[in-house]
Subunit: 349 residues, 2 copies
């Protein structure tokens, strides 16, 4: 009988953050692809697009005019999934099959730059620091509203990720409940903390730094790595080296270091297939529920769908929806590819 | 303060099958769409395609020739995610951060018909019965292999669901572990069974039949409905009226009734946007682990991505990946639309 070789044999890996497994099929990367090809975003966008509802000075769907903003610009989502209105509601928590409750919240859009064609990897470190400051301000402003208990900062980049406008922007959905994925994460962080009096992700990071098999970038304050349990082909996570829970805990040095690692990571992504690399990314951090959360650890997830080229993505469909997430390339292989890639943007070569 | 109106106000609903929530934003359906459009599958496919690796008599990637099959045809997946080989493995279950274990299994492809252009809704009830018999045979054959503890039957339909060949076919991945989603479902069915000595889905079905707000199709033996907690815009579930756990428990009448409801449901789907409707579907049923499972109930999920037209799908991206699933149209609205739609295929009108 053959000995288990994690680089060759089909296996499952466990994600301790959400208590779920992923099926890894290293040998399957050789599969030919005859399915759908994605359309590649044009590299040749103008700096200003008169038809873009995010460009400075333009009019949005609701009739409002964007200011002539110079750095980032935040506004309330014109088609928000959440509403601020307070709703009267009799508790139906005892229902077994028809459990529902109103959800209050605020959705905002964060334009990263006035320039229509300037995505994160092509911004300056200063420019990205300005976005981080905007995120900090929003986390504080939204978090202090008393019914807001969680502030979800995220970005959908690229049309393949449902992004309807290439103008660089992210979103913030702040709400009264902990969203499902955040609640799962919190539960597992909490269980670990109660058991070990230490932080799951800090302890994990120490092990990863020792092994040095999945580290993509390391600087004085942050590490970008492919998690052992990553599901997307080039999924990564950025973890701070110091233990703290939220973006407002950054020192000034940490702000610069985070901005730098964001620029480097997204540049490596763009360089991988020489395309503006699509992904969804987002920050997981301490809830704003007014309770102390020593179990929390600030981190950021990147979930990029591309598998083999600018046009071939991984589909999380049938088996993945009914069974469990499945990946072809191993996290170690992905990490070594990303690590080796230059962090000078291909357009500047 | 306004009273909670589930048809108008943002709210969360609870899914007792997997113990997760979904965010519902009924008012958001009015949002204009400026993002990616899907390409529509051509209606004009030939009955036989000489370049198709699933058509009878053609040669597959591995050099094998398909037989001149007349109904369904099953073969081992040429690029299987799972392998049958037994792997020697020392238990690493005590690992916290690097928990992995080899996974043994078999992946098969099930061609539904020799005709390249004949999808489920356009097949005869007899033809679909033949597929059901094939699924039964596979469930038995794979299930009796002693290391196989779960048999996942599923279909990816349409290029938007990662399906690389329009020739009507599904897949079966059979493996030694319970996949994540199946395990979650089993845990919740079990908890309910232990508490009530009855089946969660049977009790749920009784309530749904009484309310008659989310029922799409009902016949003597099966019901197709939009679950109260559905996440995809036109997601449905087929549940048997009689309590049994697996496809091999079907009586002959139930086989005909299941075939009929499959044909009707997929026809309604095609008619919704007058297009060959993409989806991933799959059966959840009793594990083949040799243990008695009174908590299990045979059911089938349909997860279709389209939202507004043949070309506009719902993207489960940023917020959904980091936070929780989010839907715009309510399940009640979707059910009433599907219920009202004809079950005579639009091509035959
Ligand atoms: O096996 P296929 O049809 O080539 O591949 C498709 O279905 C599989 C099972 O859901 C997925 O893992 C693949 O990502 C998808 O492209
Ligand atoms: O808000 P947007 O960018 O219009 O929409 C996009 O992101 C949202 C949040 O992840 C998703 O709910 C939508 O399905 C997606 O198209």
């Amino acid at each position: 009988m053959k000995n288990f070789d994690i680089n060759e044999d089909p296996h499952r890996r466990y994600n301790p953050l959400i208590n779920e497994w992923v099926l890894v099929s290293p040998h399957r990367a050789k599969r030919p692809w005859q399915g759908q090809n994605e359309t590649v975003a044009s590299d040749a966008l103008p700096e200003y697009d008169p038809t873009c509802y995010l460009c400075p000075g333009n009019i949005r769907a609701n009739g409002m005019t964007n200011p002539e903003y110079e750095n980032s610009f935040v506004f309330e989502n014109d088609f928000a999934a959440l509403k601020q209105e307070e709703i009267l509601f009799e508790d139906s928590i005892k229902e077994t099959f028809f459990k529902a409750q109103p959800e209050r919240g605020i959705s905002r859009v964060v334009c990263f730059s006035p320039k229509h064609n300037l995505t994160l990897p092509e911004m300056t470190v200063d420019g990205i620091e300005n976005i981080i400051q905007t995120w900090q301000k929003e986390y504080i402003d939204l978090g202090k509203i008393d019914y807001i208990n969680y502030v979800q900062i995220f970005e959908n980049k690229g049309s393949v990720m449902g992004c309807s406008n290439p103008h660089p922007h992210g979103q913030i959905w702040a709400q009264s409940s902990l969203p499902t994925e955040v609640e799962k994460t919190q539960n597992n962080l909490k269980t670990y903390y109660d058991l070990h009096q230490s932080n799951l992700l800090q302890d994990y990071l120490q092990e990863e730094l020792k092994l040095d098999e999945r580290i993509v970038i390391e600087n004085d304050h942050f590490v970008a790595l492919v998690p052992f349990w990553a599901i997307w082909p080039y999924e990564t996570m950025i973890i701070s080296k110091r233990h703290f829970g939220k973006i407002t805990d950054f020192t000034l040095d940490e702000t610069t270091a985070f901005s730098t690692i964001l620029k480097q990571l997204t540049t490596k992504y763009d360089n991988l297939f020489e395309t503006s690399f699509p992904y969804s990314s987002g920050i997981h951090q301490t809830p704003t529920d007014g309770v102390s959360h020593p179990e929390w650890q600030f981190h950021m997830h990147f979930y990029p769908p591309l598998l083999r080229s600018a046009t071939v993505k991984k589909f999380m469909v049938g088996y993945e929806m009914l069974g469990e997430s499945q990946r072809d390339i191993t996290p170690e292989k992905s990490a070594s590819i990303l690590k080796a890639i230059s962090d000078t943007h291909y357009k500047n070569k």
